[in-house]
Amino acid sequence: MIKLTIDNIPIEVEEGTTILQAARKIGGKVVPPAMCYYSKLKGSGGKCRTCLVKVAKSSAKDPRPMPKLVASCSTPVQDGMVVENLTSPEVVEARKGVVEFLLLNHPLDCPVCDQAGECDLQDLSYGFGMEQTTTEEERREFNETDIGPFIKLHMNRCILCYRCVYTADQLTGNRLHGVLYRGDAAEIGTFIKNSIENDFSGNMIDVCPVGALTDRTFRFKSRVWFLKPMNAHRECTKCSGKVTAWMFGNEIYRITGRKDQFGEVESFICNECRFEKKDPDAWIIEGPRQISRKSVISVNHYETLKKPSVIRPIEGRMESTD
């Protein structure tokens, strides 16, 4: 086992663990935010630079600090390592810079974005963003592209985390989209007109940290914080069938994977469960799901709600804001 400290908190982890994973074992504020790393996607991480930390001491053997801030998601721990996250003003400064870069061309269209309320970029901005923008330049605008009936692509909101590309690569046999072009003109796209449809493509929505990929079957249906996330499951031949059903009254508005405290799904789900089973009868509703991440969703205290035993007629349905 390897011993290290992160923000002065000691922790023991197995060899080969990354600093970020070690921090997640401690939990709480000490965990660096991650916009591109996703533990269930091989090869992810290193790109967004929000999880940068300072290594004040490399190891017991080599007590020198690392010369630059390092991406905690892709830097393995060493015995005797001393890591500084929020205790390092340098890290906080750099992270503010990264947030500024990520927001530089972001359209800030949260009022019309379905991701609002469960957006990693929103959370990050609350944590490290500046109150006012420093840029006068016009924001980058991409042409709109259609990638099929289930997923809506808003390239202007994309932060190029590559998670959806890894998802398509690792979950589906036939990747139709990727990162095209380069530099600040790089974009997610299919290059030719193409519809992304396969049994697991919907997971691209769940892994997207921002509102670049959203669920078309849920488009403008409701703000997420008006919905009650419920653990639900069904017999499914393609996936675990374990999902979160987002309900309003007795109606299911959308289905997603079950996300943990770090925003990652516990298991990937199939498109049939996600897009085609909106009838509550199709599910066994287990009960309210605790959303532990800092989110406005928790403000509604839906957790006290009882599991609905009888399906009642729909009441007080939200009108679409489209």
């Binding site: 330049e137 016009e138 605008e141 042409n143 990727g178 380069r182 290059f191």
Partner: protein, 194 residues
């Protein structure tokens, strides 16, 4: 890209136009693939795309890229991702001669800006455009790695240094003549590798 914020990448279409390498070219392509270990044929992607682009008259279409994907056992998106990354692959039809004139610092400070301006004027087109006769495409590119002999430009496989407006005139005239004579002096790049 200067001062712009709109990014408009066209959405390309499969036209279904048959493309294939000639037997002679295929032999060369097979040799190229053999330079890399078994199962690593994706490594041949850049050289094979260069050859395909040259074979097809200067640019890549979706059909050509799909053909290359098939040849190398790749998914088409892998080829699109790579092809859009590199500045030497042209996704839109080009003129017979692609003039790539350097716009980077070292050339700029020894008269490169004037040469770029001059090319725009004499060809009556802007960067990225092709003359109506289909002869010249003008591209303003980044450093061509010959800063000591700047201003420089490259036209297909030929390289021109120490440019002056007069020298540019001569070159354009020469190229127009070649075009009429069906390019006796044009060298195919692919003949130089392997």
């Amino acid at each position: 890209m200067e001062g712009t914020h709109k990014i408009s990448h066209p959405q390309f279409v499969r036209e279904g136009k048959q493309f294939s390498f000639s037997a002679a070219t295929m032999l060369k392509v097979r040799q190229l693939i053999a330079r890399y270990p078994q199962g690593r044929q994706k490594s041949a992607l850049l050289p094979v795309l260069h050859i395909a682009q040259e074979e097809s008259g200067g640019s890549l279409t979706v059909d050509i890229m799909d053909y290359v994907a098939d040849l190398l056992g790749l998914q088409p998106i892998e080829v699109y991702e790579t092809a859009t990354f590199y500045s030497m692959f042209y996704l839109e039809k080009t003129g017979k001669y692609v003039i790539e004139v350097c716009r980077t610092g070292p050339c700029s400070i020894v008269g490169g800006d004037q040469i770029r301006q001059y090319l725009r004027e004499v060809l009556e087109i802007g960067p990225g455009e092709t003359t109506p006769d289909g002869l010249f495409t003008l591209r303003e590119v980044e450093c061509l790695g010959s800063c000591g002999t700047g201003p420089v430009m490259q036209v297909n496989t030929r390289f021109f240094e120490n440019l002056t407006p007069r020298r540019v005139d001569q070159i354009l005239e020469e190229l127009r003549e070649y075009a009429n004579k069906n390019n006796p002096d044009d060298i195919r790049w692919q003949d130089q590798f392997c």
